[in-house]
């Protein structure tokens, strides 16, 4: 039994944080080795060190028993190490071939034909099903990921690192990927897999290294360890995956979507003939794999995107074509998917960020003049209530907050403004368990005040924990709406893959 990779006593410090603290990782030849850890635990950092993007402050690396120094991705590549990054490293307007050969072109003059042939052969050997002459922006996310895999294989990598490869895939694509990984192993390669999804680890991994706050907690044999055990090792305490909540007290209809069609960025229908209503006092969760029209749907409701046809009404008002501000005034709160892009102005203070939706009206301002004092009092209230921690309180710049605190600030802003409809998109993305629990409780509290909540999440757990009803989306269509109490993850999972309720239940 030989270790193909050994990372010994690795330490890596960033300003103000120790990302890797004396981490040791040993991967055996021919195994799939999973790495599990919370957000910010240091997984990506560790892999970046292995791949030569960062340099470790302390510790050393052995590859196939020999100590090596990896200073650049080239070094890694020469050692047969390849990596599929969390964010794809593909040039959108290049062909598959061009992306794959980039950096390994061989000659001064490009020989696209030969390369393309070689890629075709490789693709067939591993069952990747890729057309080398396609342009990246014209292929699906799943295919793009397979291009990343091909990139490694083209470089003769036999140690393959996958950093959260399934976050962006459909269940079907995830299954395919698992199969591909098994193929890779059977061809004698080794795989390091980073994922937050325990069932995936269970499905393919042989062993799993668990890290928490930059330190290794333990290495477990996946076959003999339960998911609950792994989860508690990761977090440091037993994890309850359930949220306490009373049955919903459903009231009048707040959000009514009728026969809605919305274009996506590629100018094709991203949301198709969609119907949904959300009532006061309930949480409706939208389940679905990322990229199935959730973004378009939410943007249409909030007014960030125009509607092709159909109607949206809010609390009895037709808002199909209303201005964003008008919608906010009628009562939409929105926790956006991308907190840094949409949610906050990073270079402004917390108090300005808290007021960003309401600054123009009394009591925040009068006759176009801001009431600075009120702004600050209000912001103080929000950050106290939601425990937003920062260096200089309301005068801190939003960009200086940690990810979790940024998220808490946004949730605070949206909840305190007390909207009739709160739309929460991935409200706990990137948060630690403590923060997740708090935000979940706030969402439930908002429901219990008699408001409607529309939740979008790619995590089935979260959907099941919070929702009273679950609407399942696939390729822009509503597959079905089911009561949470009357379904299970299996059934919803099938529907997410596009299988209708009845067919699934046959």
């Amino acid at each position: 039994m030989s270790h193909v990779i050994e990372m010994l006593n690795i330490r890596k410090e960033f300003p103000g944080i120790v990302a890797n603290d004396d981490i040791t990782l040993q991967v055996e030849q021919g195994e799939i080795h999973a790495i599990l850890g919370e957000n910010g635990a240091g997984k990506s950092t560790l892999m970046s060190i292995l791949f030569g993007l960062y340099h470790a402050d302390e510790g050393h690396i052995k590859v196939r028993g020999k100590q090596v120094s990896i200073n650049s991705p080239n070094d890694a590549s020469n050692l047969g190490i390849g990596m599929v990054h969390q964010h794809f490293q593909l040039v959108h307007n290049f062909t598959v071939t061009e992306n794959i050969i980039l950096g390994r072109e061989g000659h001064f003059f490009l020989d696209r034909k030969t390369a393309s042939k070689k890629i075709k052969t490789l693709s067939e050997k591993y069952g990747l099903n890729i057309d080398p002459d396609m342009i990246i922006e014209n292929i699906t996310v799943g295919m793009q990921q397979r291009v990343e895999i091909l990139k490694m294989l083209y470089r003769d990598a036999d140690i393959l690192i996958f950093d959260e490869p399934t976050a962006v895939l459909t269940p079907q694509e995830i299954d395919d990927l698992m199969q591909i990984m098994r193929n890779l192993i059977s061809e004698g390669k080794s795989v390091i897999l980073i994922t937050h999804k325990l069932n995936e680890i269970k499905a393919v991994a042989d062993r799993c290294t668990i890290i928490r706050r930059g330190k290794v907690i333990g290495v477990v044999d996946v076959k003999t360890t339960s998911q609950a055990k792994m989860a508690s090792m990761m977090v440091g305490r037993p994890v309850s995956f359930k949220v306490d909540k009373k049955p919903a007290q459903v009231g009048r209809v707040i959000l009514d979507i009728h026969d809605l069609n919305v274009m996506n960025n590629k100018k094709v229908l991203g949301v198709k003939s969609f119907n949904l209503c959300v009532k006061a006092g309930e949480i409706v969760g939208i389940a679905g794999v990322d990229g199935n029209g959730q973004t378009e749907l939410i943007e249409a409701i909030t007014g960030l995107r125009g509607v092709e046809s159909g109607t949206i009404s809010l609390d009895g008002n037709d808002i199909t074509n209303a201005q964003i501000r008008k919608r906010n005034e009628i009562g939409i709160g929105h926790i956006p998917e991308d907190r840094q892009k949409r949610g906050l102005v990073m270079t402004e203070t917390l108090s300005d960020n808290v007021a960003i939706k309401e600054f123009y009206k009394a009591p925040f301002s009068k006759n176009g003049i801001l009431k600075e004092e009120y702004l600050q009092q209000y912001a103080q209230k929000v950050i106290t209530q939601f425990d937003v921690r920062s260096g200089e309180g309301i005068h801190s710049l939003a960009g200086k907050l940690s990810g979790g605190n940024q998220q808490k600030l946004i949730v605070g802003r949206e909840v305190v403004s007390d909207p009739e409809l709160l739309i929460a998109v991935q409200p706990t993305r990137g948060l630690d368990v403590g923060a997740i629990e708090y935000i979940h409780s706030q969402l439930v509290a908002h429901r219990d005040k008699g408001h409607a909540v529309l939740l979008v999440s790619f995590e089935l757990d979260e959907i099941f924990n919070l929702s009273d009803r679950i609407a399942v989306m696939n390729s822009g269509e509503l597959i079905d709406i089911v009561k949470t109490s009357e379904t299970d993850e299996q059934e919803v999972g099938l529907m997410m893959a596009g299988v209708k309720h009845k067919e699934g239940a046959q």
């Binding site: 960030l304 964003i324 929105h334 892009k341 949409r342 402004e348 960003i356 939706k357 600054f359």
Partner: protein
């Protein structure tokens, strides 16, 4: 002890600006020395030329006036995340409108001044709003659009002035504006001993105050800044991004138009053709050095005004070519652009000083603690 929160000393915009200025002056000194001139003499005569007597102070302020307004225009656009490189064209059109009014509108003085100022404001605003509109509607980058607008203004003036505003014999410039129809005020001219000082300075200072008020205290300023810092968040929050981009470019253009007013109807009293006003670009320097802050703009415009205004006398007294002033300004801007360097340098320095002090502080504390522990 783990989560010690001491407020770290950080370099600020002022320190960075001063560093850039000092380096610019040093570069100027080196250039002077390299042609065999005495830099101290050079700077002495440079400052004398700008400030030697009340008349020269007046001239310096008149030079600064235009720079101040252009600087304010560029700074204002910066606040909204836009780069207004088109101040030169906006100056030209603002100046053209004002010149037309000066030649053709006859009203009681206060009313006339209001119309004059308004015309320049509107002319500049028009020239600014076009790229603003193209940016908002078609996402045309404002840098390219405003550069195009500069040249369109330049060539329009080139043919318009000789055709419609020609003086009795001069082909290259418009007919001169009568003092009574210009921004010059006899009491100011007398007060400053016959300098070109004019009411433009008042216009500039009032504009600075208004802009500062808008940016700091009003909902409009709040919106503009939000759009400037993160247009996606602004859009999400219900702020009309496109409208704000257009408004911002309109105001920026208007301010540059006022700069044209002060230059063409206050400082020079006529318009030259075939000249792209260099203030349009110097104003970028003013805004950058002033950290896009209205008050910063006041200081930096006076500083650049001194350089521009004193260089002629320096040239008369020494053998240093006046272009040294522009070189110094350019160097300052390069160093402002690369201000990261100073930030790192100062932060590093402060950090080291702080570490030293902290260490001392720690030692002290430990000394204090020990006896207690002994107890």
């Amino acid at each position: 002890m783990k989560e010690r929160k001491t407020r770290e000393l950080k370099s600020n915009a002022f320190l960075v600006a001063i560093s850039a200025v000092v380096l610019g002056l040093i570069a100027g000194a080196i250039l002077m020395a390299s042609i065999g001139s005495n830099p101290f003499e050079g700077f002495l005569y440079l400052s004398k030329g700008a400030l030697m007597n009340i008349e020269r102070i007046g001239n310096t302020l008149a030079t600064s006036t235009t720079l101040m307004l252009v600087g304010l225009s560029v700074a204002f656009a910066f606040k909204t995340g836009l780069f207004n490189i088109g101040a030169a064209g906006q100056m030209l059109i603002g100046g053209l409108c004002a010149t037309l009014v000066a030649h053709h509108v006859f009203l009681p003085r206060p009313l006339f001044l209001a119309v004059l100022i308004l015309s320049a404001l509107l002319g500049g605003a028009l020239w600014g709003v076009i790229p603003g509109f193209l940016k908002a509607k078609f996402n045309v980058h404002e840098v390219v659009a405003t550069i195009m607008m500069n040249w369109i203004a330049y060539w329009s003036i080139y043919y318009f002035v000789p055709a419609y505003l020609k003086g009795p014999s001069l082909e290259t410039e418009s007919a001169s504006i009568a003092i009574s129809q210009s921004l010059r005020a006899p009491w100011l001219t007398k007060l400053f001993n016959g300098s070109y000082m004019n009411l433009g300075l008042l216009v500039a200072i009032v504009s600075v105050l208004i802009i500062k008020f808008i940016l700091d205290k009003t909902t409009l300023g709040f919106e503009l800044k939000a759009v400037g810092s993160n247009r996606f968040c602004a859009e999400y929050a219900g702020i009309k991004v496109n409208r704000n981009v257009i408004i911002s470019m309109m105001i920026a253009g208007g301010l540059a138009g006022l700069a044209g007013l002060t230059y063409y109807t206050g400082y020079s009293r006529n318009m030259q053709i075939g000249v792209m006003p260099s203030q349009g670009f110097d104003g970028i320097a003013v805004a950058l050095l002033g950290a896009s802050n209205p008050i910063g703009v006041v200081f930096s415009s006076v500083f650049f005004g001194i350089l521009q205004s004193g260089k002629g006398f320096m040239n008369a007294m020494t053998s240093v070519p006046p272009e040294i002033a522009d070189t110094i300004i350019a160097v300052i801007i390069y160093f402002t652009a690369t201000s990261v360097l100073f930030k790192r340098m100062w932060d590093g320095l402060f950090h080291r000083i702080q570490m030293k002090n902290e260490k001392k502080g720690l030692d002290l504390k430990e000394n204090e603690k020990k006896p207690e522990e002994v107890k």
